[in-house]
């Protein structure tokens, strides 16, 4: 597994300053429609797309709540086979039961999670399954979806279930890769859940801490959001700095503990009506938002990210449609993930000399491969004179996300953008 070889290199240690190692693993969520025939039929195409995008982690919801994993085990096993063929490591997500205060329901939930682990071990073997990630809870802090779940209730479910999973995984090296709570980042006290999770649950039961973050959930003009479309878009794009600050805030709690810091869901807009949020997630703006978020996650020292949703989502989030067709967000992900790699030395030249609406990361490795990713968050055409930043000089080519295509051009000293943009600066031999 690609991920296995990366283990041990880092775990939420010192936040990367300029010149630090890149430790962000790229990932995506498989959306709620992975059982749809269209997704199943297009599976080979999806595998290729996931692999092409440099994906190390794939989060999937087997959907066992209230049902035995046996109910659709064959389909689920097929999906997990496909994920493994793509070279990625699965993260299995178990949302807490709605009847969280019913001890019988909680016991059944734990048994079902364990049955899923047992079946996985029978099919893929102990050591393989022990390398997977196991996530307990999905936005347990959100009063919209949690059925009144308290932190104490979540903690009890987590400890019981994580302990049972750990016994089955019998991980030989280090702690098992079990974690939570995948908090809803819109809630004002989201940090409480992370802090209490880390402080009140036995460290040996936590392999990672996960949090979700979207740029907005409101329709333009509703709930005090600006009605002006231009202001709404610019404001949305201005919020990618939250990925940095949240990764940092969580990172302080995790330093020295060997626990990974993961952004388990991200995208620009969380509204579930495609008429409202598709254009933010699936167009050029979504690509710029996601590219900018990735740079801030790298800057903040996060260990992993999962785009919501990579594939198998019929709604307004998917980076790939059911047939595997791509969006600009997917192309941005692919461009960045294939070129800014785990273990690269990274720096952020615009921190020292910033320009509004732009951000950049420069990545290099021991083989002297060097690339730079530039993100433009503005809606008007702009030019950037690259000689201003010595680290951005010396590249001969630029590859830019243009719609759902990437086009390559010879690079001269000035980089031009239309509305929103993600560009890779490189030399011919380095990509």
């Amino acid at each position: 597994m690609a991920f296995e070889s990366q283990r041990g290199l880092s775990s939420a240690a010192v936040a990367p300053a300029n010149g630090a190692r890149m430790r962000l693993r790229y990932g995506l969520n498989i959306g709620d429609h992975w059982r749809d025939p269209a997704c199943v039929l297009a599976r080979e195409e999806l595998i290729t797309r996931i692999k092409d995008a440099g994906t190390a982690l794939v989060r999937v919801f087997p959907g066992i709540a209230g049902a035995s994993p046996a109910d659709h085990w064959i389909e689920c096993a097929g999906l997990l086979d496909a994920i493994q063929r793509s070279g990625a490591t699965p993260m299995i997500a178990f949302p807490c039961p709605q009847a969280w205060s019913d001890s019988v329901a909680v016991r059944v939930f734990t048994m079902q999670c364990c049955e899923f682990v047992d079946r996985s071990i029978e099919r893929w073997g102990q050591s393989e399954v022990a390398s997977w990630f196991w996530s307990i809870g999905d936005e347990p802090n959100s009063p919209w979806t949690n059925g009144g779940l308290t932190f104490e209730g979540y903690r009890d479910i987590y400890q019981t279930t994580a302990e049972a999973i750990r016994q089955r995984l019998r991980s030989r090296e280090g702690r098992p890769q079990i974690g939570g709570p995948c908090v809803d980042g819109f809630q004002p006290f989201w940090f409480d859940w992370i802090w209490r999770f880390v402080e009140e649950v036995d460290d040996s039961l936590i392999g990672f801490v996960a949090w979700n973050r979207y740029g907005d959930w409101r329709e333009p003009g509703a709930w005090s959001a600006p009605a002006d479309p231009d202001v709404f878009e610019r404001l949305l794009l201005s919020r990618t700095g939250e990925y940095w600050s949240r990764a940092q805030a969580v990172g302080v709690l995790l330093e020295g503990r060997g626990i990974l810091n993961l952004c388990s869901e991200l995208n620009a807009h969380a509204h579930n009506d495609p008429a409202i949020s598709s254009r933010f997630n699936q167009g050029p703006l979504g690509a710029a938002y996601y590219g900018s978020a990735l740079i801030d996650l790298m800057r903040g020292g996060a260990d992993g990210e999962f785009l919501w949703a990579g594939a198998c989502d019929r709604g307004p989030y998917g980076a790939l449609d059911a047939g595997g067709r791509t969006t600009p967000t997917y192309e941005a992900k692919k461009l960045i993930a294939r070129n800014v790699r785990f273990g690269d030395v990274v720096s952020f030249p615009l921190d020292r000399d910033p320009v509004p609406d732009f951000d950049a990361v420069v990545a290099s490795d021991e083989a002297r491969r060097k690339v730079a990713v530039l993100v433009y968050r503005g809606s008007a055409a702009r030019k950037l004179e690259l000689e201003r930043w010595p680290e951005l000089a010396g590249f001969s080519q630029v590859s830019s996300v243009s719609g759902d295509q990437v086009r390559s051009d010879r690079l001269r000293g000035t980089l031009s953008f239309g509305a929103y943009g993600v560009a890779l600066l490189h030399n011919q031999k380095d990509v």
Binding site: V14, F151, F186, V231, S238, E242, S245, V252, R299
Partner: protein
């Protein structure tokens, strides 16, 4: 007391654009210490112990005093100008620059006549100040428009579009009053004094900066408290000890928020100010006092100050200076200090404007400790520390500042010293605190340190 141009600090915003927690190199100390004087303004301005209060604030090197007009029980600027004048004069007597907040009005926000009325009132107050203290003095004061507009309870239920219209009208009125003395320079007007609990608090800062004429903005002001709930209230942790530790863990938020605002200010010569902060803002004074006016509050405050210093922002204003049973303030009406006063005193005395500073605590240790080392003129060196954990902790001085390991003087503020700073001999180059606490190690002990 003059607050003339020569003393006016340049914005620090462009100096530090990103917080690299724990890894910041040596940097200049450019934080102006400040306080709010609000609900208990009468004691501060006119009370029998006012001169003692001013002396206590001078010891804190208070350079900015934030005052309110039109809210927080502030004196009516028209009906009771003498009282407002006394408030402003008290701030000047402290040696500070007044920071006047035109908090709100209670007429319809969409009514152009109401907006015009408010703008004229504000401009009239500014003009009255120039008459009273002279335009050369008053042009250097700070003028803040509205208070917590993003919080319906405090700000009155205003939306951003309404706020923007009021801001521009008031700012133009203030500018008009000050124009004879500005010589083309922009007046120090700002906002939006956002409340930090609201999920989209930073939007207000962004929109102010992007939707209001640049020439009308001199600073950005934001507020932050870690908590407003008591233990067990509204899904907060029920165990008081958990609650305290959770609040303490959020001292880092000051640095992160400061950096987020700094990112928005990149490329602009504007000041970045935290105009209101403390640990707890519960609606009942007795509850918030347990957090703000105890050793816990002192430690949290020390952690906050270190974060402010690290972030490179321009000013902080604690809520509040003088306090008559409101559960926030550092000094009661008799000028008797709380532990937070002493923590701020240690910081102000040993980490001074213009010093060079660095932050030696890195890695996992920063969950329990935070510290700043300051280097002043004539070899003065000090370490100001906060111990953020409620269990015993030990640090080796050699790891923080080797030159102080052998000969530094140790000042401690913790439960053993009953919340007052006490000078003690250093023990084998180590600092030991029994729980939450604040300490200083310095090579320059002042007579006042020996309380």
């Amino acid at each position: 007391m003059s607050t003339g141009d020569a003393n006016r600090p340049a914005p620090a915003t462009n100096a530090v654009t990103q917080v690299d927690l724990g890894t910041a190199a040596m940097m200049p100390m450019r934080l102006q210490y400040g306080v709010n004087e609000s609900d208990s303004w009468w004691h501060f301005a006119l009370g029998e112990n006012r001169e003692r209060l001013w002396a206590k604030l001078r010891e804190l090197d208070v350079r900015i005093v934030r005052l309110f007009v039109f809210d927080k029980h502030a004196p009516d600027p028209v009906a009771d100008w003498p009282s407002l004048r006394a408030c402003i004069q008290a701030a000047l007597n402290v040696g500070a620059t007044p920071f006047l907040t035109f908090a709100k009005f209670r007429r319809p926000f969409d009514d152009p006549r109401a907006v015009r009325w408010f703008a004229e009132q504000c401009a009239e107050i500014v003009w009255s100040c120039t008459e009273e203290w002279g335009g050369e003095e008053v042009k250097n004061w700070y003028w803040c428009i509205w208070n917590e507009p993003n919080n319906d309870w405090i700000g009155g239920g205003i939306n951003f579009e309404q706020y923007r219209a009021i801001y521009e009208a008031v700012a133009r009125g203030i500018t008009r009053s000050l124009t004879p003395w500005l010589n083309g320079r922009a007046p120090l007007i700002g906002g939006p004094s956002v409340e930090g609990f609201q999920p989209f608090w930073l939007d207000w800062v962004w929109r102010l900066l992007n939707e209001v004429d640049d020439s009308l903005i001199g600073f950005v002001n934001w507020h932050y408290y870690a908590e407003w709930r008591d233990a067990g209230e509204a899904a907060a942790a029920g165990d008081p000890r958990t609650m305290q530790n959770l609040i303490m863990a959020q001292a880092h938020q000051f640095g992160l928020r400061a950096a987020q605002v700094s990112r928005l200010l990149r490329g602009r010569s504007l000041l970045n100010m935290c105009g209101e902060w403390n640990s707890h803002s519960h609606y009942l004074p007795a509850v918030r006092a347990r957090f703000n006016q105890t050793l816990f509050g002192a430690t949290y405050g020390a952690g906050a100050l270190i974060q402010f210093l690290r972030s490179g922002i321009d000013a902080e204003m604690i809520w509040t200076g003088t306090d008559d049973a409101h559960g926030y303030g550092m000094l009661n009406p008799s000028a008797e200090p709380t532990p937070l006063y002493y923590a701020k005193l240690l910081c102000a005395r040993h980490v001074r404007y213009g010093d060079r500073i660095r932050f030696p605590i890195q890695g996992a240790v920063r969950r329990e400790w935070d510290a700043v080392v300051s280097y002043g003129p004539r070899g003065r060196r000090s370490i100001f520390l906060a111990h953020l954990a409620d269990r015993p902790g030990l640090l080796t001085l050699r790891d923080l500042e080797p030159s102080l390991a052998a000969s530094g003087q140790f000042i401690k503020l913790d439960s053993e010293t009953k919340g007052r700073p006490v000078v003690l001999p250093t023990r084998a180059g180590k600092i030991e605190l029994g729980g939450f606490g604040v300490a200083v190690v310095t090579n320059e002990l002042e007579p006042q340190d020996k309380l």
